[in-house]
Amino acid sequence: MRKPLISGGIVFLIVLLFFAIMPSVYSNEDLFFQAMVYLALAQGVNILYGFTGYLPFGYVGFFGTGAYAASLCITLLHFPPVLGIIAGGLASVVLSILLSPLLRLSGAYFAIGSLAASQMVYYIVSNPSLQNITNGPYGINLESVYQPHTSYVTMIVILALVMGVVIYIRNSRFGLSLQAIREDPVSAGMAGVHVVRQRAIAWFLSALIAGLVGGAFAWHISVFYPTTVFDLNISIFAIVFTLFGGVTTVLGPVLGMFVLYGFYNLIGISEPQYFQLIYGILILLLVLFLPSGIVSIVKRRGHYVP
């Protein structure tokens, strides 16, 4: 038990040190901020999909809710940004409670249901009738509290919390119970696992993470439209990064994000004409030869992956 925790801790430290140090090496801080956003979201997807088997295509709904709730707390209620971010996380948890009946679905039905739910939230937020509250289609302007360096540090703290939670789940009875539910809920229930409660906790945790990250993102980017924070590509990126690295591990989403997001920026910036081709081939190769992600190469040899 201690040794897996130590190996998870090493990944934790390396990742956080990387993000803490890199802005002083390479001054495009925003690049690393976005990388942290996707890594934290990928870990949120990991908790939900990796450990429970629910694939949340509409995960961006929690992200956008967090972004909007944090922004509205800052602009309307004059919360300090950090408090706004916490409120954003809590708002996403409230939304996840409202949407918890979705957990009665499974497989593709759940994926489509969560997607529809995220679109529903998007249309509510961007509706002109709510302009007095959400500013409707005019979006959010947080220029008065724009502090890119402070929001960067806040994002590191959120990432640390998220990584800590995933390391805990990976190495705890709670994580084992989730995996048991994912494999066979009936057997897990008969073995004494409280299926509904454990699933719901994973669902709330996952929503909390997306909400906190959305709040930090809103603060960092400061001017945005509803389309920016409810962009389905955010869900897709988080899911693809998780699957590419390998689910149910701490390291998988880390590797997935670093490799794919690194390529996304490198190819997308320097060779945009080949970007979609190369990215597509990379994902195709993964699906064909490494369906369980990069970490499966190590797992197949019987080694432990944190």
């Binding site: 801080e29 961007s126 289609p137």
Partner: protein
């Protein structure tokens, strides 16, 4: 016993992170701006090579590229501060219509490429993320078409809109035209985004002042592409003027649905035929556009008597020679952004960003280009250009534009 897993783990983690660090660091470019007579003036911009904004962003980028090539063919742009011509270098990244990617790339242009001038991508969505970034880095943002009203505030001196007024001002002539021609039964349908809603707000306020209450007033999501039910609802209100505010991706299905439904309205107005006529004509057909109204922009509005840059006809000729395609409004907007940069450099006392801004105001209200009068408000918004109302009239196999109202 745990030696092997630890070794494997550390190999994976360390090599993965080093590779990633190298990948991310590979983004670095070696452009450093020097303080005295630089070898080249670097202009950084973004374009959407794919996604929902590609149709509009690519021509804007083509227009800017055309201007850069023209300048470099003449030995560069004259910079008053150094009393000599300096070649231009355009650094452009593809944001794929994603504003989160755009945010990273604007940062890249400022912090790594250290560009002398920053030009934003097409439209408000892809410009919005650049506004706080440019302000934070004290970098003047040359904004060709991001017309969101919230970008222009008294406490932000680092933005200048080069084409088109802010979107809330657009329907001024349209409202006047409707009122003057006694249209009493107006139907309004608009998309739920900053660009369209701000126009709807202005139009509704002006109609209200004239005691006209729209018989139909509805907003729809920007992603709407099926208008058939909506058009029948509009028809049921028996309007004599139908106004649709949307992007080109909305105007096309809207006009197609109107044609398919067999509906006929005394006046039918859409925005983008005035900017992307050939594109919309390809999709809707001449018959679907004939008789409809729009805001005409260059090249539909032809300004040949200019005091700076090429006139419209000369530009069309040169542009076609260079790119083998006819220009649309966004090509003009990209080229016009280049002309504004050119004139700024000709008037600036240095390459400092506030010096550049100061230079902009030396010719604001005096420069007339193929895009119209360039005039900035104190907040950097464009107030020189106006948008008249025009009707598209069938002429042979094509369409011609007849301006019916101009303020």
């Amino acid at each position: 016993m745990m030696k092997t897993p630890f070794r494997v783990l550390s190999r994976i983690a360390v090599s993965g992170l080093i590779a990633s660090a190298m990948t991310l660091s590979g983004l670095a470019a070696a452009n450093a701006a020097s303080t005295k007579a630089p070898k080249q003036i670097t202009i950084g911009t973004l374009y959407a090579g794919s996604g929902s904004f590609a149709d509009s962003s690519l021509p804007q980028y083509d227009g800017l590229k055309f201007w850069v090539n023209q300048m470099n063919a003449k030995g560069g742009v004259y910079v008053k501060a150094y009393h000599k011509k300096i070649p231009l270098k355009l650094i452009a990244y593809n944001d794929q219509s994603s504003s989160t990617t755009a945010a990273t790339q604007y940062n890249q242009l400022i912090t790594q490429n250290k560009v002398n001038l920053l030009v934003s991508d097409f439209g408000s969505v892809l410009t919005s993320v650049a506004v706080p970034i440019a302000q934070e880095h004290k970098m003047l943002l040359i904004d060709p078409t991001g017309t969101g009203g919230s970008f222009f505030t008294p406490n932000n001196p680092y933005i200048a809109l080069t084409s088109l007024p802010t979107s809330g001002v657009w329907p001024t002539s349209l409202a006047d035209y409707l009122i003057k021609n006694h249209y009493k039964r107006v139907a309004l349908i608009y998309d739920q985004n900053d660009f369209d809603q701000s126009q709807a707000t202005t139009l509704l306020a002006k109609l209200k002042n004239a005691k006209i209450t729209p018989v139909y007033n509805n907003s729809v999501p920007t992603s709407t592409s099926n208008y058939s039910v909506l058009i029948h609802s509009i028809m049921a209100t028996n309007p004599d003027a139908v106004i649709e505010f949307g992007y080109n991706t909305n105007d096309i299905p809207f006009l197609q649905s109107v044609s398919a439904s067999g509906a006929h309205f005394k006046m039918l107005f859409t925005i983008f035929p005035g900017q992307l006529l050939s594109n919309i004509e390809q999709n809707v057909g001449v018959s679907g556009l004939a008789g409809t109204y729009t805001y005409p922009t260059p090249p539909l509005l032809v300004y040949n008597k200019v005091n700076y840059g090429l006139g419209m006809n000369a530009f069309t000729k040169e542009f076609q020679k260079s790119t083998h395609s006819a220009p649309n409004f966004l090509d003009v907007a990209g080229y016009n952004a280049g002309l504004v940069i050119q004139k700024t450099l000709e008037n600036t006392t240095g390459l400092g960003q506030l010096q550049l801004r100061k230079a902009l105001y030396t010719f604001s209200g005096k420069m007339f280009t193929l895009d119209g009068l360039f005039k900035l408000s104190p907040t950097g918004a464009q107030i020189g250009e106006t948008l008249p109302v025009a009707q598209l009239i069938k002429s042979g196999n094509g369409l011609k534009v007849k301006v019916v109202y101009s303020k």
